[in-house]
Subunit: 235 residues, 2 copies
Amino acid sequence: MFFKQLFEPESSTYTYLLACEHTKQAILIDPVASEIDVYMDLLEQHDLSLVYSLDTHVHADHVTGAKLLKERAGSKAVLHRNSGVSCGDILVTDGCLLRIGEIEVEARYTPGHTNACTSYVIDNMVFTGDALLIDGCGRTDFQEGNSGTLYDSIHNQLFTLPAETIVYPGHDYKGRTQSTIGHERESNARLGNNQTREGFIELMKNLDLPYPAKIDIALPANKACGTTVNVNAKK
Amino acid sequence: MFFKQLFEPESSTYTYLLACEHTKQAILIDPVASEIDVYMDLLEQHDLSLVYSLDTHVHADHVTGAKLLKERAGSKAVLHRNSGVSCGDILVTDGCLLRIGEIEVEARYTPGHTNACTSYVIDNMVFTGDALLIDGCGRTDFQEGNSGTLYDSIHNQLFTLPAETIVYPGHDYKGRTQSTIGHERESNARLGNNQTREGFIELMKNLDLPYPAKIDIALPANKACGTTVNVNAKK
């Protein structure tokens, strides 16, 4: 399986390109609008056909490349049904499977950071978006976020995966690229070491985070799968 | 919206072709392998591009055209995840939405006839497969069928639709082409007129139906999305 982790530095977003070596069919997880040329070059360079762009949620910090990829690569936009995104082509619910050549993607509904967060499990990897981050998790104070719900999602839908499952998050702000379910279950600063649900809720309540800088641009754009021109996370 | 109800007389199967008038993108619900040339002709005649073939379940009485359509029309095969069909491209779970131009398809999980039955709601129509039939329902004595489960599916997932919703079943053996949710809720011989769950289970237990004639051919073929050559419901 072809695998590439890409990084957009402005929002510290990780995007993942995966492809079946046999059929040359590809998917992109959490593409960023401003990086569209990078994706198109990579697809061309490796002779790949993009079938799906998958968003883990409606992002507040960058604009998705879903719509640009629909237009330029002919892919279908995939998100959770609760996203309320009118231009999504496939709106998944928990347990939905997508097969692309040898790649099998399982959607696991992991709300809490937002009400439409979905993690995608592929082989021994899980793409967690902003639900579970390396040594942390997404904030829960916007977009119908809920700390108790996030705790339940991470415990029931992610920490139940095999310990060796590789965690590929939606962001990292310290240059870390991956972790494992086992490591996060043990050591995550907010959720590891048998942290209780009540303890987690209390911790999240006291984070005192600033208003997200890009949210007023990013949310309306992402509700439309990202706009086609002149609006992206860098503006 | 383009709409056409097709009939395969050997197994009395209804197949439905729907298409968006603007994008010319189409879907087929419950295509039959032996009718592939009819479908290809219709697609060509109306200049339609087939995006998805959707099966309501793994059929026991005819062979699905899903695989032939993948090969000849480039469509993706859609079924419920519980179908255990290894060649399905999109394995939906309850609530999953697919958008094809102006067409929005909602999957409603309606097990009971089999453990993988899904009805598809499009606008004011519901395509019920063998869960709810006109004045009847699918049998529950094969493929992990369960009468209580079917009663619950029909009551919770179908009878809760608006009364005027048009019911398009997977079969009819008396030439009837459609019904409504309101009519079936009132008058269905097995489920209408406030039939109780216990009464329905008792009724289904005493049907004394013959072994399905095609099941030993159809099930293995359908587990592989229908075979490509020389096996169909007519053989």
